[in-house]
């Protein structure tokens, strides 16, 4: 059942594997699992090629600094793409260019429309994550497990915002 070539594992096995990743994160990097800070590291670096003055913003300078924590997280999210790619290749679970659920959820099969929604969604997703100071990983997995009150509030808000948006804007049939 845990074969690397199978198309799906139990959600519980995957959850345990993800939870165990806190061990190397805390022992080796002295931080918790997270993902959204890396967007500031990479985004800030890219923006600085066009506008070097962005590096004078403390928030950006802190995130692009060549520290282990900053670039460990960039490497982590890059690794996620590699791991998913290898896993998909091993199982043969090839994906179409756009998930078939979008034609129904958006009420349109137009790829251009989906790309526009995806871009806008990505934009507000990271703006919100940085405002909240964490995402599904940093607040959700790590903050909740550390019993951080702010993280529990943030996770409740995430699901409330997600459920309200999905029920209001996305179709079910």
């Amino acid at each position: 059942m845990l074969s690397l070539t199978s198309k799906s594992w139990s959600p519980y096995v995957a959850g345990i594997v993800i939870g165990l990743l806190q061990i190397p994160a805390f022992l080796l990097i002295e931080t918790a699992l997270g993902a959204s800070s890396s967007y500031v590291t990479v985004g800030g670096l890219i923006a600085s090629w066009v506008d070097p003055s962005i590096l004078r913003i403390d928030y950006v300078a802190k995130h692009v600094a060549l520290t282990g924590k900053n670039w460990w997280q960039v490497a982590l999210v890059a690794g996620i793409a590699i791991g998913a790619f290898v896993s998909m290749k091993l199982s043969g679970a090839r994906r179409q260019t756009i998930s078939p659920i979008w034609a129904r959820a958006l009420g349109s099969a137009s790829p251009a429309r989906r790309y526009a929604v995806a871009f806008a969604a990505g934009f507000i997703m990271l703006f919100g994550a940085r405002l909240a100071d964490g995402c599904t990983s940093g607040h959700g997995l790590s903050g909740t497990a550390q019993l951080a009150v702010g993280s529990m509030v943030a996770v409740a808000a995430m699901f409330a915002g997600g459920i309200a948006t999905a029920l209001a804007l996305l179709r079910r049939t």
């Binding site: 594992w9 993800i18 939870g19 924590k69 793409a81 998913a84 507000i124 940093g138 497990a145 951080a148």
Partner: protein, 206 residues
């Protein structure tokens, strides 16, 4: 630790993370949107299992004095407003900031747009941060940890949390069996409601 070593550890951990996201199918837009539409619970099952596991390992590592915890400060206004915006983005992206990379890796082209939009959102926030940090959004209660507020050791609170998560997951599995939530192409694209459960399970077993 040298930067290079930290990056190598990051890539190795990311590959394991990406494998788990892909194999559990929780990275699928169909699963994430289905969760937000309250008709597919694989996302919450993975989430609560990962939280429970993380809480147990942190309880052990912290209890025996191997690690220091790193909880984020409670900034209620920012946590709530930012969380709501982030949640809206997750529903429309069908991804979260970590899983979008798994979508790119597995070959979803729209995820590249989500990723680029995400970098744009992070840059926009970076420009706004000096202004926002002077508003009520920066007001908070400091690092509030539930176990400290209750006057119990962290490890006790963490084990209670793990137990609660386990109960939630057992109940979720009872009500929403995972085998019926994957769909024919393991992407969470399920037949319309009203299809008999045994037919869904037959589809999942193929």
């Amino acid at each position: 630790m040298p930067l290079f070593t930290a990056v190598l550890i990051g890539v190795a951990m990311g590959i394991v993370f990406g494998f788990a996201l892909e194999k559990s199918r929780v990275f699928e837009p169909g699963i994430i949107v289905g969760q937000m539409q309250l008709r597919n619970f694989i996302m919450l099952k993975v989430f609560f299992t990962a939280v429970a596991t993380g809480a147990v390992v942190l309880a052990a590592m912290h209890g025996f004095g191997y690690v220091k915890l790193a909880p984020k400060a409670a900034l209620y206004a920012a946590d709530i407003i930012g969380g709501l915006i982030l949640g809206a983005g997750i529903a429309l992206a069908g991804a979260c900031p970590g899983t979008v990379l798994a979508q790119v890796g597995a070959g979803y082209r729209d995820a590249i747009f989500t990723l680029v939009g995400g970098l744009g959102g992070a840059i926009a926030y970076s420009y706004a941060e000096p202004m926002l940090s002077k508003t009520f959004l920066a007001d908070g209660a400091g690092k509030l940890v539930l176990s400290e507020m209750l006057g119990i050791p962290y490890w006790t609170g963490a084990l209670v949390l793990a137990a609660l998560c386990t109960v939630i997951v057992v109940v979720l599995e009872r009500i929403f069996p995972s085998a019926a939530e994957l769909g024919r192409d393991v992407d969470g694209d399920l037949p319309p409601r009203g299809t008999a459960t045994h037919e869904l399970q037959a589809v999942a077993a193929e």
